[in-house]
């Protein structure tokens, strides 16, 4: 495969490296159906099939691939930088709480929380999630991925580096867990004879 950056959709702000690209070299950007639309200096070594930022993506902005938001930048990404799990998180635009009763919503912010500062129970965060409610005062929950205004909902999407495991839905999860445990125990006792 050629050493090019492949852009799938005109509005995309990331492209895919079709083979390994080396740091500080210029490579052509190829857009589907249009041909070469420009060139870009790559700032990191980009392995084959990894994504490169085509334009500057500010923090909290959407990362667009296939013409759709596929994630959100957690830091400013310069054009030519690699785009991967190190600098983007899952698109928090999803209206998850419409889909699931609770599980995504961890609680509410008590005061304004700056991006990057830690979120602690009682200090700046009032938990509503059943897994967090019983935890002692001042327990660290995670780090704010963006600026959170007082009263705003804290949920998977604006919090990173989560310290606690959360069930998406406690009721269903325990049901599935119990079922697997039951099957496993059955198999074990059978094999023992």
């Amino acid at each position: 495969m050629m050493k090019i950056i492949y852009k799938l959709n005109p509005i995309d702000n990331v492209g895919t490296a079709l083979s390994d690209l080396e740091k500080n070299n210029y490579y052509p950007i190829f857009e589907e159906g249009k041909g070469v639309v420009g060139s870009l200096c790559v700032l990191n070594d980009i392995p084959k099939w990894y994504k490169v930022a085509l334009s500057k993506i500010l923090e909290d902005e959407f990362v667009l691939k296939f013409g759709y938001p596929m994630g959100i930048a957690v830091i400013d990404i310069e054009p030519g930088m690699i785009v991967h799990i190190t600098n983007i998180i899952l698109n928090s635009n999803f209206n998850f709480n419409e889909l699931i009763e609770y599980g995504f919503i961890l609680g509410r912010a008590l005061v304004n929380i700056d991006k990057g500062s830690s979120i602690r129970i009682g200090q700046n965060f009032a938990p509503s999630h059943p897994k967090l409610r019983g935890l002692p005062h001042n327990t660290k929950i995670g780090v704010a991925a963006s600026r959170i205004v007082a009263g705003e909902i804290i949920r998977l999407g604006n919090i990173v580096d989560l310290k606690h495991k959360l069930g998406w839905n406690i009721k269903y999860r325990s049901l599935v867990k119990d079922f697997y445990k039951f099957i496993y125990m059955g198999i074990m006792s059978m094999s023992r004879g």
């Binding site: 589907e32 084959k48 099939w49 983007i88 698109n91 999803f94 889909l99 069930g167 998406w168 269903y172």
Partner: protein, 418 residues
């Protein structure tokens, strides 16, 4: 209007693109006896391209099912036996399974006994040519003798039928993907998307499936549903799937995207799913008309449908085919030999190395190097390669899977067996 050549089934007023004869054991106990009947006809080929065969759908279901597993199995067995690509069916029954014919007792009414043979009754009501043998009633040797006689009769009738012109509006095509690699999401799936758009503009019915592979791209799907009723159905389905999947993943300690996915460049679940879902095309005017449950009959009225199936290749394809898909387009990156017992499965790849290594099992290679060297659009490449090949296969040319004799069939089971 685009047309292909197909077999017309007068009684059922459907078109089939193959004229197979199906041997279907109603329970797994008689798999071997059914196999013996089939072995007499294993070399039998007829049709313009020698594409029609006597096929056998071996499976491990048909007994000891509980609750809705019982209904799903019945749906799948009835669905595959009444598939438009099948000319006639031979049911090989044991006698005591859940879908078997009970042996005739002394003084019992023959008709009433047959009425209780639910599978047979259903197929007769649907106007399908169906014969049966019952092992507990006849004995093994007699069953094989009668079975081969029935198949021989149907074979002679089937050989006399010719293909007639069939509009694409009467055809149902399924799309799926499996054994993916980065080329699937970047090239193969969007290319199939263009073909799907063109087929739908010709009033063809398209069905896509694999619920676990659309999780993360919910917003993309929500834009594409027809009305509130379908939206509600889709939301309910996705909610259940997310919760079940997360519960299992949490218990087994696996994540999605998997470490392997992340290593190959995928960063979020949404990215993975967007790549997979692009096989339904980017045209927002094409709406999902309905959400179908596993193995449900797909309406043949043109447009896009979604069927709830597992992400696994075998069960996803079987579900769509049991629902009535005439043909399945399957994109792959690493290569898979999968086929189906009654429907041709067209495998499409954009990975040159895979195609060169696995020419025996992969039908279409999208020459993506032309995208860069000759500046072709992906739409043109898709139409020139995938669409052309599909039209040939619809009119009788055998797929690679059919040539190597793949007869894959499986029944989905959700619950434990007794």
């Amino acid at each position: 209007m685009e047309e292909c050549l197909a077999y017309f089934r007068k009684k059922r007023r459907v078109y089939g693109i193959r004229n197979h004869i199906l041997i279907l054991p109603t329970t797994f106990c008689v798999n071997n006896i059914a196999m013996k009947i089939w072995s007499y006809f294993s070399e039998e080929r007829w049709g313009d391209f020698e594409e029609n065969r006597v096929v056998i759908a071996l499976h491990d279901a048909g007994c000891c099912h509980v609750g809705f597993d019982h209904e799903i199995t019945f749906k799948i067995l009835a669905g595959i036996a009444s598939h438009p690509n099948v000319y006639g069916v031979l049911l090989v029954s044991l006698g005591c399974g859940q879908f078997c014919k009970l042996p005739l007792k002394q003084g019992e009414d023959k008709k009433a006994n047959l009425m209780n043979f639910r599978l047979y009754d259903k197929l007769i009501k649907r106007g399908i040519k169906v014969k049966w043998v019952n092992v507990q009633e006849f004995g093994v040797r007699e069953s094989i003798k009668r079975g081969t006689k029935f198949v021989n009769e149907m074979l002679n009738e089937a050989k006399r039928i010719d293909r007639v012109k069939c509009p694409l509006s009467r055809i149902v095509i399924g799309v799926g993907n499996g054994a993916s690699d980065p080329t699937s999401g970047l090239f193969a799936n969007p290319a199939v998307g263009y073909v799907v758009e063109y087929l739908i503009s010709n009033k063809c019915t398209i069905v896509f499936s694999q619920t676990t592979e659309v999780l993360g791209a919910e917003n993309y799907l929500f834009e594409r549903v027809k009305d509130e009723r379908v939206m509600l159905k889709l939301k309910r389905l996705l909610e259940t799937m997310i919760v079940l999947k997360e519960g299992i993943q949490d218990y087994l300690g696996v994540a999605d995207p998997t470490p392997g996915n992340i290593e190959s460049g995928i960063s979020t679940l949404t990215e993975k799913s967007l790549g997979s879902i692009s096989k339904i095309g980017y045209n927002k005017n094409i709406k999902i008309k309905d959400i179908l449950s596993y193995g449900t009959k797909i309406p043949r009225n043109g447009g896009l449908y979604f069927m709830d199936t597992p992400g696994e290749d075998l069960l996803a394809i079987t579900g769509m085919v049991a629902g009535g898909a005439h043909l399945v387009i399957y994109t792959t990156g690493l290569g898979t030999p999968i086929g189906n017992v009654v429907a041709p499965v067209v495998k499409v790849t954009a990975n040159k190395e895979t195609y060169e290594r696995l020419q025996d099992i992969i039908d279409v290679y999208i020459p993506i190097e032309k995208l860069f060297s000759e500046n072709f659009s992906l739409r043109k490449l898709a139409m020139d390669n995938i669409y052309e090949q599909i039209m040939k296969i619809l009119s009788g040319e055998p797929t690679k899977a059919e040539r190597i004799g793949q007869m894959d069939f499986g029944v989905r089971e959700l619950w434990i067996k007794l």
